[in-house]
Symmetry: C2
Subunit: 333 residues, 2 copies
DNA sequence: ACGCGAATGGCAATCGGTTGCCGCGTGTTG
DNA sequence: CAACACGCGGCAACCGATTGCCATTCGCGT
């Protein structure tokens, strides 16, 4: 521990050249004599030299890193997304670091202060901070926003309206006429979008919609939502996300309601849990991996100097995955 | 974008003082006249000055960041662990960054090269690289290893042997005499430990043990394990982790075996999935959050200059959580 | 009135790299 | 043989902050 790493100066001394030559031997191979370069590289290897990217960044203003800020790592939606992001970054020779901001705008700011100067670009996944705060960040470093639209800033989002529309159509086709929406955190941008999409689908699908919540986007939140729903039960519910949907199913079950016998349930995100839970959860899926990859490629384009790729949000399709948690409107028994 | 951030030089000029004074106004408040400091702070705020931690690190050799490297973010075990780590870091005024290494030793090295100089300490969670590579890292920066022991290096691990012992006892008490272990990746340190613990429990619990695998530590891996198990079925199975256990249950179910009627299943990790799956999965739980927090506090102690806190591994207890996936040895029918 | 030390601000070196520019030596060309 | 270009290495400034040391000023004791 604490052993000072070797620097270009160490290498330079050992190889009998100037530090600048060592630097060039690595950064622009053509610029220095092939033999000299070779010798330097040998010496460097021997000494275990590794360039300090931060020191380099001081003058070049470029680390080869990007950061992805997540509202909550424990949320399984992010698993695939991170994968996609990581792969896209690796492909471009960038390292990706992640920071969890625990659903808190304050924490986002703190982390950003520390991390911003160490990276070339930022992906804000489901940021909780204000639009102005986000714009502030975008002024300093190339930034792409995920799962949210912030006027004038590049963003990547899922086609939530269409997803919700599909969900509503599915329920309507099964004969349901009343749908309850189990709302997630108000700070979550997609929540409002999904709710509005459901309301918009109301008239031409002949649906009545209600809304309970907001509840935390967790299994327990779903259990609480079930209790709230029970005061005015409907034959169908759409939850903010899969975890809430699963919690709702547990809660409903505990109250003696059967799924989908008494109530049909639809979630959002198609997380792994949606598949393993019983009954299998019908849910609106989004290409999370693609989402992450696109976002990263998008920032990297900016980092690479793209002046203004269109700032229209890039919207990715979503689709309904039908499983066993939805069924026909219960026949009067 | 691309707007150069303001530096102490900008602030110094605007406030009519020397850069060094600006620096001191922030880093050692007593050292500079109260009024001057106040003025500087005002000017700085007005200009939106934020210190560049990397530049600072050049001379102080201390960013206020630590890194946690994970083998796989998609693995839900890490969710809680990250939480604990993040909280412990925040408590100490450190920011935590995460890197996913996709279960690859090579990727670990690459990421470390980039990230190492930007942080004060490292937590390696379930590293896949060789012991020597790990020691190499530890020579450069304070390092704590999680879920693995590397001779001479501080580490935090779960009491896997005891956990497995409890699982075996539980099965033995239910009358099972043959247990199959569904092995996870060989590069995963706990895999060997768990398997050995099961073998060790054999004789005095009167068990016969078998082993199938290795399989990937995923639901699909579990499905494959079920196929392998089916060639020599046993009445009880212990899986490398919950995902494998869940996959096994699906696979077994698909083959017409009932859980726990025909086969009892135990997982490891007590992830959220263990609770929501049907039947509820009996599993060996570890205090993941605590694990993460301890690891971080441990590195921070080293960062703070502790010369050699004992390098004995810190071992945290594990316990068996009984749910519905285990039952009595099937009566001959 | 003189001397001394505390308070306070500035100068300049340093951290580890990068890069513009200079200068030397060699090879090519007229 | 002179002129010129080019290849290649070194010097030194710079990125943004920190810090040891020095200089100035002021207050105070004697």
């Amino acid at each position: 521990m604490a052993e000072r790493p070797t620097t270009i100066y160490d290498v330079a001394r050992a190889a009998g050249v100037a530090p600048s030559t060592v630097s060039r031997a690595f950064s622009r191979p053509g610029r220095v004599n092939a033999e000299t370069a070779e010798r330097i590289r040998e010496v460097a290897a021997e000494l275990g030299y590794r360039a300090n990217p931060q020191a380099r960044a001081l003058s070049t203003r470029s680390t080869s890193m990007i950061a992805v800020l997540l509202a909550d790592i424990a949320n399984p939606v992010f698993a695939e997304l991170v994968r996609g992001a990581e792969e896209a970054a690796a492909e471009a020779g960038y390292a990706m670091v992640l920071a969890d901001t625990r659903e808190s705008a304050g924490r986002e700011r703190e982390v950003l202060d520390k991390i911003l100067p160490t990276v070339d670009g930022i992906v804000l996944a489901s940021p909780r901070m204000s639009d102005t705060a986000v714009r502030q960040v975008a002024k300093v470093k190339p930034t792409v926003v995920l799962n949210r639209e912030v006027g004038g800033l590049p963003s990547v989002v899922v086609d939530n309206p269409r997803g919700m529309r599909r969900a509503a159509e599915h329920l309507a086709a099964l004969g349901h006429t009343q749908v309850t929406y189990l709302a997630g955190p108000e700070a979550a941008w997609p929540d409002g979008v999904r709710w509005r999409a459901l309301r918009d689908a109301r008239t031409d699908l002949g649906l009545t919609v209600r809304r309970v919540g907001p509840v935390p986007p967790t299994v327990n939140g779903g259990v609480r939502a079930a209790a709230a729903w029970a005061t005015h039960p409907t034959s169908a519910v759409v939850a903010y996300n899969d975890m809430v949907a699963i919690g709702f199913m547990r809660g409903a079950l505990a109250m003696g309601r059967r799924v989908p016998g008494d109530v049909s349930v639809i979630g959002f995100d198609n997380t792994q849990s949606a598949e393993i839970v019983t009954p299998g959860l019908t849910t609106v899926a989004a290409p999370q991996r693609e989402l992450g990859a696109r976002a990263v490629r998008h920032v990297l384009a900016f980092v690479g100097g793209a002046r203004s790729t269109s700032t229209d949000p890039l919207v990715l399709p979503s689709k309904l995955v039908e499983r066993a948690s939805t069924g026909p409107y219960p026949a009067p028994s």
